[in-house]
Subunit: 415 residues, 2 copies
């Protein structure tokens, strides 16, 4: 058996034990992990320094180095995040429904863990403890493969996590950090569909496509977020401006920011000029259609590629559309099934938008920036899905479970 | 654009319209399909005769020919099945939960269709109308690719279905039957992950492995059902016998029959002899472990391959085990995650079995034969899943939907 298959087989074995543990046991394990992180903060920071030094030598970008960096505050934040997951309701064993059939059989849809979860990610070492904690909360074993730039940090966090798990009486193999720098190890991992139930890649589009194209295991993923904000004819002007601003400038580098603003032609003259001004005052470059260009200064003419763009920067595409149908058609053509928002006081318009837009998050008179597991009440996120199978949208601990059938009878046979 | 991509693009377009239709509209469409089947019964039977003649010439097996054959009663049964699906509760738009967060946002988990579903199947022409009806019920467009032996029958049923859909005002491309006999068409279809959301193969293990290995689209599948029945030390003798018999002999060719019987050593002497006798009286060949061989006559010694066998015939493997732990370990090693049953009057034993066995269906004091969408109250089945992502166990119309987030606000922005 290869090393990686042996590791995954140990994870599978651990998952069987985990699945039958009580919620209280797993909560205790999570508190042990939080304590382990605090007690070993200095050790983790020392390991992180090795990654930072190597990163500096390799000339990594400042934003990348910032994501990689750990200090006492950040390790404390990791411990707090694990405690928050410990405080979540345990999903395992809860039932979505339980009915008694005419023949007396009780049929219960009961939540059980997925089994073994693999997470493949890039530079943030906090993903190691967050993802391990979400897996334990939901009774799953986890295999963690972080980016090679964070390998010392991930190994240190992984050791703390595994020791805490073992000290609380659960199998050490419940959480395994893979630390080799070899990409062929990922390729091999992705073939183990008999031992691993789901793979969640987190990072840039390149990593995600690599995983999707090489995996025999089901993948939960989102490639990108080209989020649209549509201002209807009956949009409140102040609300429209506040949500457009919040959607673009509050944190432009993340996937739930607004990339394209669509405006009903009857409202464009009223709504757009102050929005364009305010966006520009905040340093945003406007890429506008012809009609938009007439409503402001310094507007870059938009081309086809702007409608497709996930800028993740202080850029926005703006298009004036004939009506709500044209807005919906634009979205159906260019969207990424992440998050779309409408601002309107007209209930017919919001209902039309809601029923015709099939994105994972639809916002009605609210900012796209709320498309986030923490903001929507799920607790920490293990990932976001923009394909519809299994999970659609932000995914927390419950997303790492499935519903099975338990049938309780009194000797019934089928006739 | 290739023909098959063009077909799938039309399905995607139809799915957008379907997703925004009302439940009443789709119910009317289903009644139009049922009427179409009845009105065109003679035409469908004539097309079926072409397949039957070709099958006879090709020397197909009688059981295969029987699955392929349509007559007036069977077409009527197809119409009735569609009407039963029409009578089901419409899943689209229903909410699993709706909460108001402290900031006033209402967050609703709302059910929407998956989009475009492809079903790849073998000889039964009734799958064409059943699967189309389940797709329409749940607001999905569907692409149907049946076996070439049933191509005339499927084309005739498909035309009736598509005409009924068009006459009721929905897009004809809501249900498309592919009729070429070319397997490369399936391979091409399986690459269209931008146009098709899920593929469900139904048929033998060869077809299912072919689809799983060639698909870029998520696959919902089950390879086989090696179902176990465990008779605990505290099993009621009459119940144990009745359920063992029902599990093996009522319909041995289907995936939810019992293939392996495990018996606690303390109960084996009491329970097994009458069960072995009764099974043998029903023509069943017993493949037993050494301890089983002492408890009956004409028992074939079981080998490793018997524990792995999905017989689908009047054969059963029987093993006496030391205790419930040994039974669970046997199941964890050999099972297919389909259905496992325990017979016991001891609540501790049933709880242990339920928490440690992670199969898609767990039966407590009930026959494995109930592992079926119709029997468990789901209505007709689109398929069965033995992998845990998205659906686990029998899957009906609701299995063709997903939950997304709808967030209703009053202008909230994120701070």
């Amino acid at each position: 058996m290869s090393d990686i298959r042996e590791t995954a087989a140990a994870s599978r074995q651990a998952s069987r034990i985990l699945a039958a543990t009580s919620g209280a046991q797993r909560t205790a394990t999570l508190h042990a992990i939080a304590k382990g992180l605090r007690d070993n903060s200095a050790k983790i920071i020392a390991a992180n320094k090795l990654d930072l030094d190597a990163g500096k030598d390799a000339g990594l970008e400042p934003s990348f180095m910032d994501r990689l960096m750990l200090n006492e505050d950040r390790v404390e934040a990791m411990a707090v995040a694990v405690e928050e997951i410990a405080a979540q309701t345990d999903p395992i064993g809860s039932a979505d429904s339980s009915i008694v059939l005419p023949n007396g059989l009780r049929v219960t849809r009961e939540r059980i863990p997925l089994g073994v979860v693999a997470v493949i990610y890039e530079a943030r070492p906090n993903v190691t403890s967050d993802a391990a904690a979400l897996a334990i909360r939901s009774g799953n074993a986890i295999i963690l493969k972080g980016g090679s730039a964070a390998s010392h940090s991930n190994a240190a966090v992984g050791e703390v996590v595994a020791n805490a798990i073992a000290s609380s009486g659960l199998p050490k193999a419940s959480a395994t950090v893979l630390t080799t720098r070899d990409r062929s190890e990922i390729t091999e991992l992705l073939k183990l569909d008999d031992l691993i139930d789901v793979v969640i890649p987190r990072g840039g589009e390149g990593l995600i496509r690599f995983v999707a194209e090489n995996s025999r295991i089901p993948v939960i993923k989102h490639y990108k977020g080209v989020c649209h904000l549509y201002l209807d004819k009956d949009a409140d002007a102040e609300m429209a401006k506040a949500i457009a601003l919040n959607g673009k400038v509050q944190r432009p580098s993340v996937c739930n920011t607004v990339e394209t603003l669509l405006v009903h032609q009857d409202a464009a003259e009223k709504l757009l000029p102050p929005i364009i001004e305010e966006l520009q005052a905040n340093g945003v470059t406007i890429h506008g259609c012809e009609r938009t260009q007439k409503l402001g200064k310094d507007i870059v003419p938009a081309t086809e590629s702007d409608w497709e763009a996930e800028y993740l920067s202080l850029d926005i595409a703006i298009r004036v559309v004939d009506d709500i149908d044209a807005a919906i058609e634009h979205i159906q053509r260019y969207n990424s099934d992440h998050t779309e928002a409408i601002i309107s006081d007209n209930i017919g318009a919001t209902q039309t938008f809601r029923s015709r837009i099939q994105s994972s998050c639809v916002m009605i008179n609210a900012s796209t920036r709320f498309a986030d597991g923490g903001q929507l009440g799920l607790g920490a996120e293990i990932g976001i899905s923009t394909s519809r199978l299994h999970a659609y949208g932000p995914m927390g601990a419950e997303g790492l479970t499935t519903l099975r059938f338990v049938v309780e009878g009194q000797g019934q046979v089928r006739s």
